[in-house]
Symmetry: C2
Subunit: 437 residues, 2 copies
């Protein structure tokens, strides 16, 4: 997860598929009473989603409460067509309708989402086949070299100014931070993440690092600044590369860092450390053997590699709305899918760490700042965009909190590397976070 | 890897399969010159195994040197039938012939084995199909509840007195130790392993632990003594359970530990921590879903589970000789096979650590003590047994050194456990090993 969008309507990105990024049709103003079958549909919907403590408020202010228990949240449905979309295709419609303001929530959005995820997760074990088919999740779109640029452009070229509003002010990290202490600020936790990654890679001055998917280049600069290494960093987001280069120049680090505006699949050269933070989600399972071969080709005999990615406890498709509207091509792998990279490249896995709750905390910090700047965001884009982004951040908090998403850092090396770290003690000899911002 | 044997010839264990544990036929005394096709066979054998720097010394003291390079080791073949066995079925014959004294090595056995493994590993990529077929590795025997007792009896009921000769004097650990510093003694490193496991499980006084496959009960006693927990520990090796109970009584810990002489598959009850050190190798891939279900059933909502096992970088069958003569039913899983336990049980993996070189070091310490006591071992069993065990320990050192075997510790929990450790810092706050033995 490095950057995202429901694209500004006035400046649409290349449209590769019919309906891709198309905004939902507007609802029509309605003054009629709800039909009895519409109330029946809501009761059915609540039952099928495991009877979450949610009441529905309809367009005429009628309320349909759950059959049992006291509702903790109210979901407002603004028109009958919104209700129909929600029932027939909830995976996609929930996000689209919320973004369009045709669905609204009266209370804490992340908590409502977590409640919904938990409830649906329990309920879906009893779903009949027809419901599984109706509410199915389609597979992610292609991440081929040609399509990857569009996919990434869609999310990461939204404008650096937008991300600067709510990412950390230290290194513009759009990936999971590392809260070695729960009270860290976002800035401290992001710097701690960079430090934690460098320590796992056991970097030494003068070494060479290849980074695949470098975002705004913060890790490369941190490595060059604090560990005296040379970094080749690849990214296909033009806006990010431009920012990264300017920042490296500003910090006098341009002699140690080469930011390369190219697909990671075109990388060449040899390195002591290979690192990729938050790119694997975009790579696509079908491209894992190629990634393995690439790392194999570039890693020196005793080199270490670290991949950091959102993942799953079991193989599962990405949420439809996120994949369609926010992250085209995204697929968070299960850990065994993730490790197929290591098996196919004949690597030896040294260390796996799961930072799931750290991502929930990171996202909370992001959402908090996002809400503080919501008027700026709406001025830059529009209300639809702001609402889509709020939902995406809130839904992601919920997904990491309930355990539907995980965050794995995997450290590995060639099978014939025998110069291994004695233990992991060295990673923990001092705090990874700086004392002050 | 908890205990092993090439069974004393005078007291054979239950013989389930024809040829199971049968000793190789004796060689006949030979005074004839080698035939030219026998020299040709050796040249062929050397080429097929990747031209390792090994010379062959034949029964009449003739030497066949490798085609290129200077030989670092000499392998003595004592009779023509030994040579024929070695060429047609090297996986099994190497061990059998060495044990019977019909094959001998003039130099450092672990180094020769490592050289051989490395060489064969490279060479086998070019093997023709017929050679793959001729030298194939058969699958492991069954680990069903009925067969498991025989398998385990075969290895672990060799006699506690035998293992006491060369295992650590602290807690009789027959699994990989943890050398957080390279200069630790075997005793320190084994205690450090026990401490490391307890820290990963975040044990608290009064908690309940279930241990599947407890060896001589050292971990259970360590946990009860240092962490004030109650332990139910399962083992189907009667000799080990008898030792474990006596030792717990001697240490006044019997009120906190129940050693249960039963298959882990019959365990019941609920626990805060589930742990199994060095048993998974014996479980058999086909029984992983059952193990997952069992852990799922016994682990409390916020409980942690740790499995520690020999593993592989990729799926691969166990060495034939080890599986047939030393560890019936043994299969070290690849990490993705290992993690299928977590996926099938809907667990969330928190931490994976690979301790490969720690096992090489452990085995070196074991072999050193074994050699010091080799006359005692031969007096207890016979020369054949002593040689088989030397080869097994030396070959295992080699396998961990070259990276053909790995050692994984995997920590996991229920997917809906949200009380996760903040980080791994707490594991490393002080040394795990005691300062003195």
């Amino acid at each position: 997860m490095r950057s995202s969008t429901v694209k500004k309507a006035t400046n649409p990105p290349p449209d590769k598929e019919p309906g891709y990024l198309s905004l939902p049709v507007e609802g029509q103003a309605v003054d009629r009473e709800p039909h009895s079958y519409e109330r029946w549909l809501i009761t059915k919907l609540l039952r099928m989603t495991g009877s979450p403590p949610i009441a529905f408020k309809l367009w005429n202010n009628d309320v349909v409460a759950p059959e049992t228990g006291y509702p903790k949240y109210t979901l407002s449905v603004k028109d009958p067509r919104a209700l129909f979309s929600l029932v027939t295709n909830p995976n996609l419609a929930f996000g689209d309708l919320y973004s369009a303001g045709r669905l609204d929530v009266d209370n804490n959005l992340p908590d409502l989402m977590a409640e919904l995820y938990r409830s649906i997760h329990r309920a879906r074990e009893d779903w009949p086949k027809w419901l599984e088919a109706l509410w199915r999740t389609p597979p992610p779109r292609s991440s081929s070299v040609e399509d990857a640029r569009d996919n990434i452009h869609h999310h990461y070229d939204l404008g650096n100014r937008f991300y600067q509003l709510w990412l950390d002010r230290a290194e513009m990290q759009y990936t999971c931070a590392y809260y070695e202490r729960p009270d860290l600020t976002l800035e401290q936790a992001q710097l701690a993440k960079l430090e934690h990654v460098c320590r796992k890679l056991r970097l030494k001055p003068g070494q060479t690092v290849i980074e695949a998917g470098c975002g705004w280049g913060g890790l490369a600069r941190y490595m060059a600044r604090h560990y005296g290494v040379r970094v080749q960093a690849y990214n296909i987001s033009r806006e990010q590369v431009a920012y990264a280069r300017a920042e490296a120049r500003r910090q006098g680090l341009e002699h140690r860092i080469e930011y390369i505006d190219d697909d990671y699949r075109n990388l060449s050269g040899q390195c002591d450390a290979f690192v990729s933070i938050g790119m694997l989600e975009h790579v696509g399972k079908e491209n894992y053997p190629q990634l393995a071969e690439l790392i194999r080709r570039s890693l020196k005999p005793n080199g270490l590699a670290l991949l950091h990615s959102i993942g799953r406890n079991r193989p599962m498709l990405m949420n439809t709305w996120i994949e369609k509207r926010i992250f085209p091509g995204a697929y968070p792998p299960s850990l065994s899918e993730f490790l197929s990279i290591c098996e196919s490249g004949n690597f030896s896995v040294l260390d796996v760490e799961n930072l799931r709750l750290h991502y929930a905390q990171t996202l909370k910090h992001w959402l908090e700042r996002f809400e503080q700047h919501r008027d700026d965001v709406t001025a830059m884009y529009d209300e639809h965009f702001t609402r889509a982004w709020r939902l995406y951040l809130a839904g992601s908090i919920a997904a990491f909190e309930v355990g539907s998403l995980q965050l794995f850092q995997v450290l590995f090396t060639r099978a014939d590397n025998h110069q291994l770290p004695q233990s992991r003690c060295d990673i923990y000899q001092s705090a990874a976070a700086p004392a002050n911002d």
